[in-house]
């Protein structure tokens, strides 16, 4: 075998479990293991602050990786991620609108609505006679993203005092996460599972739309499913943690190099890897990073790594 699918997934699973334990155990305040069940403050730190944050980071990482993998297959384009079709810009605009006009009231709802709404808008504009040509969808997404970014810039320009809060939010982070958000984030595994059920169809659609029709895939229906399931996943991710870049772009690439192009293996591997990367990025910022926005870390490490992957691939 060229690729080591099952072994990779097993290793990632073990690594993620251990990492979650380590992440819960570490933080700015040191909490001795013995004190967890005796000291109320220690109990609170572990179960109400660290644990929900760790779970949220894992789920958001999984959501971004799944959405990115699905988008890359749908667009047959390795540069695609959930943000390319305007999902991120829509989510950011929703969040910023909430900060500017409602002082942050209902921010997650606005972010989610913005993300899914932007996707729906792109879909509606790109749709022609019951079909969504992939190139049109991609270009419409890019154009709409620019438009939404312009609106975002305008809001920031006129926002006055809340500018600091906006900028902080846009960079992405988990510092406000509580159990409430984790309950919402439980939709993420459901979305991932739904997309995974279509893994074989996704393999086939990556060969081309016409060929997929010839092999019995209901292509247009699959496009809608992937588009909206990805938008919901990315929307939830944005609503919890802001606009975190690069996880959705890099993890599918990284894992495709290791486990191969079969989405039945690629999805679980990317989900675990996305979760692992985001968990460690957040743990780093929590402990050593002075709570800087996690989006800075993912971009700072992700972009050079992505360039390395590109170089290596073109050398083959």
């Amino acid at each position: 075998m060229r690729y080591r699918g099952p072994a990779t997934i097993f290793l990632l699973l073990v690594a993620l479990s251990l990492s979650m334990l380590i992440a819960v155990a570490t933080g700015p305040t040191s909490v001795p293991f013995a004190s967890i069940f005796q000291d109320a403050t220690a109990h609170q730190i572990i179960f109400d602050i660290r644990l929900p944050r760790v779970i949220a980071a894992v789920l958001v990482g999984a959501a971004l990786a799944t959405a990115g993998t699905a988008m890359q297959a749908l667009f047959k384009n390795p540069m695609a991620d959930p943000y390319i079709i305007g999902t991120s810009a829509g989510g950011s605009l929703g969040a910023v609108a909430s900060i500017v006009f409602l002082a942050g009231f209902g921010l997650p709802v606005f972010a989610f609505t913005g993300a899914v709404g932007a996707t729906f808008l792109v879909y509606t504009i790109a749709r022609r006679g019951g079909k969504i040509p992939v190139e049109t969808l991609l270009l419409t997404g890019v154009a709409l993203s620019m438009f939404l970014s312009a609106m975002l810039s305008f809001l920031m320009y006129t926002s006055g005092k809340s500018l600091h809060q906006i900028v902080f939010w846009l960079m992405g982070g988990f510092w406000t996460v509580s159990w409430d958000q984790v309950w919402v984030a439980l939709v993420i595994p459901v979305g991932c599972l739904l997309i995974y059920l279509f893994a074989r169809d996704i393999n086939i659609i990556s060969l081309g739309d016409d060929e997929a029709v010839h092999l019995g895939v209901n292509v247009e229906q699959l496009k809608i499913l992937l588009l909206f399931a990805s938008a919901v996943l990315a929307g939830i991710a944005v609503s919890i943690a802001g606009a975190i870049g690069f996880i959705g772009l890099i993890t599918p690439h990284l894992m495709r190099n290791i486990v191969g192009p079969d989405h039945r293996v690629l999805f679980p591997a990317a989900i675990l890897a996305g979760a692992l990367i985001l968990l460690w990025a957040d743990t780093f910022t929590r402990t050593l990073g002075n709570e800087m926005p996690v989006g800075i870390i993912t971009a700072f490490l992700g972009a050079p790594f992505f360039m390395y992957l590109l170089r290596r691939r073109s050398a083959v």
Binding site: E211, L215, R256
Partner: protein, 428 residues
């Protein structure tokens, strides 16, 4: 029941009509070739038949079931498509690609069964790609990749196979290999294939549908469809249609130059035999002179050339001597001719009367080759007649080109060869 029934199919792209009133049916085990010039709608027809584009009107039935009533899965269980050439960007292995052919049979919550694996193994053996099973599909050659796609189509176990120029980009040995695999392994499958190469279609297809200008121009067996007139009408070129020596199927050779549209030239009669006259017949055919030939024996290679070029000729059964009726017809034709060309050839008692007839018209006779090149099997009579011909004013020309120049020269008095100079010199 017919495997495929296409009923009055119309396809439009916006206001632009691509196909109009296409109707044909195909039986199981039959192979149909779709031929026609670029832009005649061949590929569009296959797309409309595989649900890639929706027809504006008309219906397609597979085994009596209307295509639109079938789900995508059900359609893929009945109809497989082999595309022209595919670039596969993700590096799936050959066996993964072939297994995709089983997709329409595998449930959403199921994975491949042992039976699916057995089918894939079998079709990979048939398509001769078993040894490539673990190779990434983007690292194998074009011919191998096309065989992989054939294997994938076989794995679909279809009733109907659609090929969109599936072999166009392959070299000739791979073309033959792939079409032979399909004909051999898909005995119960109705195959519809778009061909650019008419000779390939002729060789492998039971029937040919000739498309032209959105419509079906002709449909029938290769012999019925591949005719000089139809090819000229559809492709606008002049071809020579012959019968393939081993398959017996018709094949075409482009003439590479159009004959004059009007028969403006004078009347030229050619007497030849063996294979001595074929080249000259071809050259004269292009000049616009009104040609005739004979007397020739059926199956003589000059006979075949004249027939394929559509030149009127007087013929006798193989190896039969020239009959009295042929002789009198020849006399009449020679009388009407402005020029008689006698090509050096073996002369025996059977065809001697050709020479006897020519001997009456020495002044309008041109001999291709010298009289010494005639092989005389008539104990001297042929040689004597030829000698008299020269004495009476007949001329010898060493090569066909010289004959053509001679033709132009005579032109001024009798035979009008159009565009003589430049056109004829181009032939050399």
């Amino acid at each position: 029941m017919k495997a495929v029934d296409v009923i009055d199919l119309d396809v439009r792209y916006g206001a632009h009509q691509i196909l109009e009133a296409i109707a044909f049916s195909v039986h199981s085990g039959e192979m149909i070739g779709i031929c026609g010039p670029n832009g005649s709608g061949k590929t569009t027809l296959l797309k409309a038949m595989s649900r890639i584009i929706a027809p504006a009107a008309g219906e397609v039935y597979y085994n009596g079931e209307q295509m639109d009533t079938l789900s995508f899965r059900m359609l893929a269980q009945r109809v497989a498509v082999v595309p022209q050439e595919t670039a596969i960007n993700f590096d799936f292995t050959v066996s993964e690609i072939v297994m995709m052919g089983r997709h329409p049979y595998i449930g959403r919550f199921a994975s491949e069964s042992r039976e699916d694996h057995a089918i894939c193994d079998r079709v990979m053996r048939l398509a001769n790609v078993s040894h490539l099973a673990d190779m990434p599909v983007n690292q194998i050659s074009g011919g191998e990749r096309q065989r992989v796609l054939i294997a994938r189509a076989l794995a679909q176990e279809p009733d109907v196979l659609l090929l969109d120029e599936a072999t166009s980009h392959l070299d000739i040995s791979h073309q033959i290999e792939i079409l032979s695999i399909i004909r051999k392994e898909m005995e119960k499958t109705a195959t519809i294939s778009v061909f650019h190469d008419i000779n390939l279609a002729s060789c492998y297809c039971d029937r040919i549908v000739l498309l032209n200008d959105r419509k079906i121009a002709a449909m029938g067996t290769p012999v019925q469809v591949i005719t000089r007139d139809l090819i000229r009408c559809v492709y606008g070129i002049d071809v020579i249609v012959s019968s393939h020596p081993t398959t017996g199927r018709p094949y075409i050779l482009p003439a590479y130059q159009d004959p004059m549209d009007e028969k403006r030239g004078g009347r030229v009669h050619i007497i030849c035999g063996g294979s001595m006259g074929s080249q000259l017949l071809g050259m004269l055919h292009l000049t616009g002179c009104v040609l005739s030939a004979g007397v020739l024996n059926v199956l003589d290679s000059d006979y075949v050339t004249a027939r394929d070029l559509g030149i009127p000729l007087i013929s006798e059964a193989p190896f039969a001597p020239i009959s009295a009726s042929s002789s009198s017809l020849l006399k009449q034709w020679l009388e009407e001719s402005d020029l008689i060309i006698l090509v050096a050839m073996p002369v025996g008692m059977g065809n001697l009367s050709n020479l006897r007839m020519v001997s009456h018209y020495p002044k309008k006779t041109v001999i291709l080759g010298s009289i010494d090149e005639f092989e005389d099997f008539t104990s001297g009579e042929a040689t004597m007649i030829l000698g008299n011909l020269l004495e009476g004013g007949g001329e010898e020309c060493a090569s066909p080109d010289q004959v053509m120049k001679r033709l132009c020269y005579r032109e001024e008095s009798s035979c009008s060869v159009p565009n003589s100079g430049s056109r004829l010199e181009n032939l050399t």
